[in-house]
Structures are given as C-alpha cells and as structure tokens.
C-alpha cells in the first residue's frame, strides 16, 4: 500500500482545515503537513456561508457582550471557559484574515464594516457582502498555496483512523481518481470534516456534508457530544432549501405570516419594531431556534402560506430598496430569482426553516483535543462547546478560524511532548484490515439493500421524528428505525464495482457515516427529557437545569446503539437564566 508520512495530517480542507494547516506551516516550516480532503479545498462547504463572522471590534461593543450573547443564545449549554477563549481570539483571527487579503466590506473611512445578526446585542458581524464564507475559504485556500510544507491530497476519502497503544497513528484513505487506498502515517491527526446536515432531506448543506469526520472519530472511540442539537435556519427557499442569510433580517427584512402579521411578536420576541429599522436582539433579530420554533407554532395554527413545497412564511425585504439589496445581498437576490422566481426587490420571498448546522460533534476540550491522544478536531465537526444548545449566526465562521488554529497549536504541543511514532507492524496491520473491509464492501454480491433506498429511509425518519419539535414516541421510533437501517446497511450491494472515481462507493461510505451520526442524534434526543435551545420536546416543554445542564456524550458501539453518558457544563460566571429577546421590554 502506498504510504505518506507526515508529522501532522489534517482531514478536511475547508475553513478549519486550511486554517490549521497554515498555522502549522507558520509555526514550524520543517513540519510535514498532509492536508487530505474528499473534495478540492475550494469546494468545501465553508464557501456556502453567507452572512459573516462575529468578532468584537467596534468601540460600543465589548467581549462581555459577545460572551453573554453566545452563552445565553446557547441556552447555557456552552462551556464558558471555551466561550471566553473564543471571544478573545475572535477579533485577532478576523484581523489576521484581513491581513491575508479577505475582501471584507468596508466603512467609508476604510475600516471594516460590521452588520447586525440574530441574537447579538451589538453589531459585530464582519462580512463580505453575502458571500462571507466563500471569501474566507478562498482567502485561506489561496494563502495556503504559499507554504511548500503543506502537501495537499485532494479528493482522498478518509476511511478509518489507525491507532496503536491508545494513540492515533494515522489513517487510511481512498484516492478517488484511482480507487487505490493510501496509508497516512501521522503522529497527530486533526479532523475538520464538517457537519452532517445531509442526514435530513431538507437542508442548506451541500452534498458533501455527510458527517464523515464525526463518524471517523466516533468509530475510533471518541464520543460525539450534544448531537441532539440540530439548528434549523429560519429562512431557506422552500423549493431547494437554499439558504437566505440571516443578514436579510440584519439589514432590515421582516417575517410575516399569511395575514401579513409580523408574528414573532407573539412568541416572546416582541413588541414589534419599526419597519426598516431593525432593533438588535429582538423580533426578526431573535435567535434561530426561537424564530424556527415560532414558525412551527404558526404553522400549527394554520397561519402559514401553503406552497407546493410545504408551508412557508414570507421574508419581506422590499422596503430595503434595490440599491441596498444589490450592495449587501446580491446573492440572496440572485438565488430568489433563480430558484423561486421571486425578486425580493418587488415581492416578499416565501421561506421556511431548514436544517443548517450541527451544534454537536466530536467531543473536544477548549484546546481542540479529543480524549484520544494525538487526535484533534475543529470546525462544525467538533463540539468544544461554544455553541451550546443553539449557535448564534456568524459564530461558526469565527469558530473554525479560532479552533482551526487552536487545533494546530495543540497538535504542535503534542508532538513536542515527545509523542512516539507508531510501529510499522501496527500501521500495516490496521491499514490492511481497513483495505480488506473496503474491498469486501466493493465486491459484495447478493446484497439486498441499495444506497439510495437506505438513505431515503434515513432522511424520512429524521425529518418526521427529529425536527424542530420532538416527542418520546417519535424519537423512540426513529431509534428503532435507525438501528434497523444500520443493520441493513451491512447488506448493501454496490452497482458499481470499478475503481476509478466510483461515486457509488463514495456514497455508500458517506451513508455509513450519516447513519452513525443520525443514530447519535436520535439517541441523544430521546434521552434528553427537557427542552433547551434547538432541542424542543413537546412532552418535556421546559428547560430542566437540575437534570440536564449537562452535555450528552454518545459512545459508539459497533454492534448496538450508542451508550449515552453525560458531562457537566463548565460554568464560570454566567448562571443559567432567562433568555430575553424582548428588546429590553421584559
């Protein structure tokens, strides 16, 4: 088997992976860095983030405000020591990106402009029109090209982590173009594999968001944390799930029901604010979980607008005017016209909540380290946790920068602590076994199940039972179904048994990852008998701090459902309180 030896190998070359690679290359140019991704870096899903990245920079803002917004927004499930580190590093990282040439939108005096975002008390979201993630990703990718020590392995799909003596030793990956397996030996591995939104049928997430990084760590014994917290973004196009950024509302867009009423005022986010003059942290600038839940409640009351793709509310941006929409929201306008046939300049756009982000992920501490020595994780695939039960919009782009860099520094510290390289025999044995398993999947005959069939059933189960509001019955049904799907997955047979760019094989592997992630979501959700942030139970409508001010940890079991454990939340200065989005009226 072809083998690549690196000091640090990074799986995933989106925002977090690229940031980690650059940090490593800058810290020590002699380090050998392997940057391995199933897609070319510029295809990574960071590119689809629109609104911006949060970091305190303006004079009227303070780190305390950012801390309070994040912790309260996360319904006190965030680890406060991690949030402290995050908000402190945030402005430094955004300035660093500026110094690498990111085309941030500007004020007239040449300073970086910021915009309002949901759940934020002050304007602190740095943005590049409505393609912020795209510009961050391309700035990082292009910047990374100047470091010869970063060796890229584009379109390599990592299949299994290799371990020896309870430490990480590397991993195996398939080169898509040849179908050949390659062994990556590395004393430290950083996983930046992104989220798993594709376990749901209606999502803003691209096709590649299949939880591969999460599943890699999970199967190697690292728990997945807080997986029940799945963020619905309130404003997706009903036809395709395409995201219309929260900046639509940050710039002054409003949400109305079929009667033209700005219904958020009826769900603890009022009173109504003047049209075109958005007030921070209230009404349309409430947090995503609350806004999506309000949609669901209105839907129950029959106040939504039926469309051929399901019920929708209206996002009205007409009062912003054509000039502002073109300057600040050009992509939003283009997408609305292209995919819905509605021009936001002249008409309100139908939107509905859509699965957007996983608050949960690979269990890491605030140094981005997992419990498995030598393994680190950052970005959406990781759960530090700064996002708690509900992430605030524009914290995730900053998170991937802050913790991408942090993971790199931690990996350096780990190497310097004298971590030994694994033995050749252990690596060879592990890699051969991994190749054997892959070959068995590729060549299996007589299987009764198909990738597309199982995937459809999984998505349907998740949408029906693990959506905005959940019940014991639904979740229990989902758990049974997902366990069954995992069992049936072993009887899958591929139609395509060739080597070169076999996407049938790729999708089968992705489905395996998704099923593991989906089961962790459902099991954690079933066990959390309370409502907090994005996890809302109709049968346990209140938050229960006595029993559930704790992180859920799903521990993998190859033959059975995961074991659920709990870990106390780190609380330093903010005791759990009431989330107030009344604009100071309560």
């Amino acid at each position: 088997m072809e083998t690549t030896r690196a000091d640090v190998a990074i799986i995933g070359a989106g925002g977090a992976g690229l940031r980690a690679a650059i940090a490593l290359a800058q810290a020590d140019p002699k380090l050998k860095i392997a940057l391995v991704s199933k897609v070319y870096p510029m295809r990574s899903h960071t590119c689809a983030a629109e609104g911006g990245a949060a970091g305190v920079i303006k004079a009227d803002d303070s780190l305390e405000h950012h801390f309070d917004d994040t912790v309260g927004g996360g319904d006190w499930l965030s680890d406060q020591d991690a949030v402290d580190y995050f908000i402190g590093e945030a402005p430094k990282e955004l300035i660093q990106l500026e110094r690498w040439g990111c085309p941030w939108s500007r004020e007239a005096n040449g300073s970086v402009a910021v915009r309002p975002f949901g759940g934020m008390k002050k304007q602190r979201t740095w943005f590049a029109a409505d393609k912020s993630g795209f510009h961050i990703l391309h700035t990082l990718f292009q910047t990374s090209l100047q470091f010869p020590s970063i060796e890229r392995f584009d379109e390599f799909y990592a299949t299994e982590l290799l371990r020896e003596d309870g430490r990480v030793a590397g991993f195996t990956a398939i080169e898509m173009r040849s179908g050949q397996m390659r062994r990556f030996d590395a004393r430290a591995v950083i996983i930046c594999g992104g989220g798993a939104g594709r376990i749901f049928p209606f999502t803003t997430n691209g096709a590649i968001k299949t939880g591969d990084g999460m599943a890699l760590a999970y199967r190697a014994g690292v728990p997945l944390k807080d997986m029940e917290f799945v963020q619905y973004h309130p404003t997706g196009l009903p036809s395709t799930g395409t995201l219309l950024t929260e900046a639509c509302r940050g710039e002054g867009g409003v949400l109305v029901n079929r009667h033209g009423r700005r219904f958020l005022q009826d769900y603890g986010m009022g009173p109504e604010t003047p049209l075109g003059r958005p007030v921070l942290k209230t009404m349309e600038l409430g947090p995503r979980d609350r806004v999506s839940q309000a949609f669901w409640q209105e839907q129950q009351k029959g106040n939504m607008i039926p469309t051929q793709w399901g019920d929708a509310m209206l996002l009205d941006m007409r009062h912003l005017g054509e000039a502002k929409i073109n300057e600040r929201l050009p992509l939003v306008r283009d997408m609305s016209i292209s995919y819905m046939g509605v021009d936001p300049v002249t008409d309100p756009v139908p939107v509905r909540p859509v699965v957007h982000y996983m608050m949960g992920g690979i269990h890491t501490d605030l140094k981005a380290a997992t419990p498995l020595p030598g393994l680190f994780a950052a970005g959406e695939c990781a759960c530090v946790s700064i996002n708690g039960a509900n992430r605030l919009g524009s914290n995730s782009l900053t998170e991937l920068l802050v913790f991408g860099r942090r993971a790199a520094l931690s990996a350096m510290e780990y190497l310097q602590s004298g971590a030994r390289a694994a033995s050749e025999s252990a690596l060879a044995t592990g890699a051969d076994a991994a190749r054997g398993r892959l070959r068995e999947l590729l060549q299996r005959t007589g299987g009764k199940e198909t990738v597309a069939g199982l995937r459809r059933e999984m998505m349907h189960t998740m949408e029906a039972n693990a959506g905005i509001y959940r019940t014991h019955e639904g979740l229990a049904e989902a758990c049974v179904k997902l366990a069954d799907l995992r069992r049936r997955y072993r009887a899958i047979e591929l139609h395509d048994k060739t080597n070169v760019y076999n996407t049938d094989l790729l999708q089968a592997l992705e489905l395996g990852s998704m099923l593991d992630c989906a089961e962790a979501v459902a099991q954690c959700a079933l066990a959390r008998k309370e409502s907090r942030g994005a996890h809302q139970r109709l049968d346990f409508a209140a938050r229960d701090d006595r029993n559930f001010l704790r992180h859920s940890l799903a521990v993998f079991d190859p033959g059975a459902s995961p074991r659920i454990e709990y870990l106390d939340v780190v609380i330093t200065k903010s005791q759990p309180g009431v989330r107030d989005y009344s604009g100071g009226h309560e």
């Binding site: 005096n109 090209l145 584009d154 590649i208 395709t240 992509l331 990738v451 070169v500 760019y501």
Partner: protein, 248 residues
C-alpha cells in the same frame, strides 16, 4: 407546477470498461422547476447508480458541477430545464481530460493557480508597520472586488479556444485571480506575478475571443482582467525600454 419527460444524452466513460467515451440516453420524469443537476441526481438515485459527476452546494458557489450542457459550459445547478425544450446533451467540461463520465482531471488548473501567487504579498516596508487591519476604502475594494468572485468552476477554460489549442496557456480564471491581487490596494506583489502573467503563456496567448466572460456564471469578466494586464504589461515594457530614466 407539473412534470414532463426529458430526454438526456449523457457522456459515459469508464476507463476500466470502455475503450472510448460514448453517449447514454436516459428518459426521465422531471419536475418543471428542476435544474440539470436535479435530473442527474434523480438518474443516479433511481435509474443508474454508476453515473459519476461532481456536485455539492446546489447554489452556484462551490464550483463543482461545471459541465457542457448542449455544447455550452454551464453549472449544472444553474441550468434550468425550462430553458431546454428538447433533448439535453450533457458532457464533461471541454478541454480537460475525462477521468470518468462527467468527472474531469483538473490538475492543470490547480497547478497554474499556484504559479501566479494568488495571495497577499505585502508592500515593502509599509505592511509590516502594524498588526492591525489595513485600511481600504469602499472605492479601493470595488476596484478588484469583481475578480474575487471567481469560484474556480473552470467554465471559462472550457469556453476558451486558445486554451484548447495551447494547453500551456495559463488561462482566464488564473489571470483574473492574479489580477485580483495586483489591483488590491493592500498588495505589493505585482512584479512577482508579472513573471507568469506577462509571459508568453500568460496574457499574450489570449487573442480576446471574449468567451470566458460570456460563460462566467459569477460575472467575473476574466477577459477584462486579461486586457487590463496586457495594457499594464505594455506600459511596463515601454517605460523599461524607452524611458529608462523612469525606472526608479
């Protein structure tokens, strides 16, 4: 909105099975509002799982799904079936080797991109002064912003006959991205980039067909970037050779 049956002809090539590429016909029921990518996904899911192609974001920003649709380079996620009344012929992007089905080999583009140093090279002296943000006015931003919008989808390479005829040509997107940094008020690396941009296989391989800008899904206008680099390079040459006293 209704459904209709659409005929597709998709180029298939599996190097382990086929001596050469061939077209395969699919007749599929499609929803009226679908894009070509939706139809391909439907084919892969329900008709033929062996079909290979790249895609991800479905919102024209990741640049994965570039392909030839009825002979024109297009993003499959932005090619609406309503614009194609008859048979739809889907092929891999022209001018790139075909790895498998609709998947092309793009090593050439990726290597060329690195050659133009598409990153901020600080101006000597000034940049090291502080660690804070650089100031940049909205007007300075506007000057290069358009060229930052390249999603590296490579439709422009598939449209450019010069790239087809001269594979060494560095190509529209790469020049636009090099120019993007040259025009950035924070950058001081133009002289270094000129080694590639102003070379024979840089802008001077371009004969201004203009197709790159016509097919660009993000309205980057690479042809404009190329002509601007040509003019600046020409001025460079004159100042260097005819007005040497202007050099420093």
């Amino acid at each position: 909105m209704g459904e209709r049956t659409v005929e597709f002809e998709v180029l298939r090539y599996n190097p382990e099975k086929d001596a050469a590429p061939h077209f395969q016909r699919y007749s599929v029921k499609c929803r009226e509002e679908w894009v070509v990518l939706d139809a391909l996904n439907h084919i892969k899911e329900s008709v033929d799982p062996t079909l290979s192609y790249r895609w991800s974001c479905h919102m024209a920003v990741c640049g994965s799904c570039g392909m030839m649709v009825n002979g024109e380079p297009k993003l499959a996620c932005k090619s609406f079936l309503r614009d194609y009344p008859g048979l739809i012929r889907v092929e891999p992007l022209r001018h790139f080797p075909v790895e498998r089905d609709l998947v092309t080999v793009i090593d050439d583009f990726v290597a060329k991109l690195a050659r133009v140093k598409p990153f901020l090279i600080p101006q000597p002296g000034a940049a090291q002064a502080g660690t804070g943000e650089y100031a940049q006015t909205p007007a300075q931003l506007k000057r290069y912003k358009q060229f930052t919008l390249c999603i590296n989808c490579m439709l422009c390479y598939a449209a450019c006959p010069e790239y087809g005829l001269i594979p060494e040509y560095i190509g529209p997107a790469v020049i636009a991205l090099g120019h993007r940094w040259n025009e950035d008020s924070r950058d001081g690396g133009r002289a270094q980039r000129q080694e590639e941009l102003a070379a024979t296989n840089g802008v001077w391989d371009c004969s201004f067909v203009g197709a790159c800008s016509e097919v660009c899904p993000e309205h980057v206008d690479p042809a404009a970037a190329i002509q601007q680099v040509k003019i600046k390079s020409t001025i460079d040459w004159y100042t260097e050779h005819l007005m040497p006293w202007l050099n420093k």
